[in-house]
Amino acid sequence: MYTLAKILFSTLPLGALAAEPPAAETQAIVAAGEARSLAQSWTVAPDARIEVSNVRGSVAVSTWDQAEVELSGRLGADSRLSVIAAPKRLSLRVEGTKSGWFGGQGPSDDSELVLRVPRTAALDLSVVSADATVSGIAGKSLEANSVSGTLRLTCGAPEVEVNSVSGEVVFTTLPGSATTRAHLQTVSGNIVAKGLGGRVKLETVSGEVRVDAAAVQELEVGTVSGDVSIAVVPAAHARLRLESMSGDLRLRLPATLSAHLEASTFSGGIHSDFGRPEEEEHGPGSSLDAHIGDGDAAISVQSFSGDIELRRQ
């Protein structure tokens, strides 16, 4: 048996047993001493995964209906753009020509990347202090990471993952599209989002959250001290859970709501259009337990010391 296998593997080309992906091409574009302009393009699959990474400056991504990625803009002085290109994956990463990004050894100049990518591509974007704008991506997924740069994202991707430390996140879905899974989180950056749907998860420590969401099946919100304001239309049998330590939670729900609504706070107040909250007999705190309509959705709102506001839209 071993001999037969040995003969087969030694005589047949590997491609006859499994389709081997085309080899990726690597390329480095260097701006030594002074900045240089960028004008490159790569042919990719329409559903290719595009990875873009920049430290400082900006990134602007727009889309077109071509199976090609076009790059223009400017590469900062003493910076290197490392490229890995394959039909299914294109990686563009700006690095300093000196090792390390911190301690004064990172890129000393801003790089401004302007990209046009296939509309149906998936995008993975990482920035440190660079601001990023994405418009039109409607591929499988959008992932965006920032430390302090602002993220302005307009997309129709069904799966969205956005992480920011202190940079603001502004997210909008394309008209006629909706997310099926969206996870937006920051430490201190604000989150402003419109058009979220499906399974939605929002997390912040001290950032402010303002979100409009429709056809939500699951909503999970966690904040420590940031205030949250959400207008949501739950889908049938939706599960909504909002939790806060000291941030205020404001939830606007449709007038035709059908849900079992539970809310409680240990030392904050509850203001509700859906039933009368009960005050604790001894000490602060109040709670609300209301059945509205058929009560098929389940909504839980909990706060330690923040106020809870439940309003009809």
Partner: protein, 138 residues
């Protein structure tokens, strides 16, 4: 020779107790009255200080006996995370550490606020993510 017998014989020769020839107390009283007041304040001050210590100590002991151990403990310290070097990440790390301490304090006050455990876990997960971000950027 027995020295004790010798000493006893000599004591007998001294006779009984002797009274002073005059009343010595008026002279002693006069000398006390002539002593400056500054020197005489110390006993009073020492007594007052002792009284304060006794009353204060008793009060403190009583307070300790009535105070639950939880409030007597030091505030919870943040986990010993490594500190990021990038300023924006370092600032965020401070925010997260402060949030973690606040959540722990809230949980100590109200252990039945179970949902705070979830927030604490998320906060720690974000703190971990900061370290990964810095490591990735290096």
């Amino acid at each position: 020779m027995n020295h004790e017998l010798i000493w006893r014989n000599e004591l007998r020769k001294l006779g009984g107790p002797a009274l002073p020839e005059r009343d010595l107390w008026p002279a002693i009283h006069a000398r006390i009255a002539a002593t400056p007041r500054r020197g005489r304040r110390w006993p009073a001050l020492a007594a007052a200080a002792a009284a304060v210590l006794v009353v204060g100590g008793a009060g403190w002991l009583g307070w300790r006996a009535r105070t639950p151990p939880a409030t007597d403990a030091a505030p919870p310290a943040p986990l010993a995370w490594a500190q990021p070097e990038l300023p924006a990440l370092a600032a965020a790390a401070q925010d997260l550490d402060a949030a973690s301490v606040q959540l722990q304090q809230a949980l100590e006050r109200r252990p039945d606020a179970v949902f705070l455990v979830g927030l604490l876990n998320r906060t720690n997960a974000q703190r971990m993510r900061l370290l990964r971000q810095e490591a990735k950027a290096r």
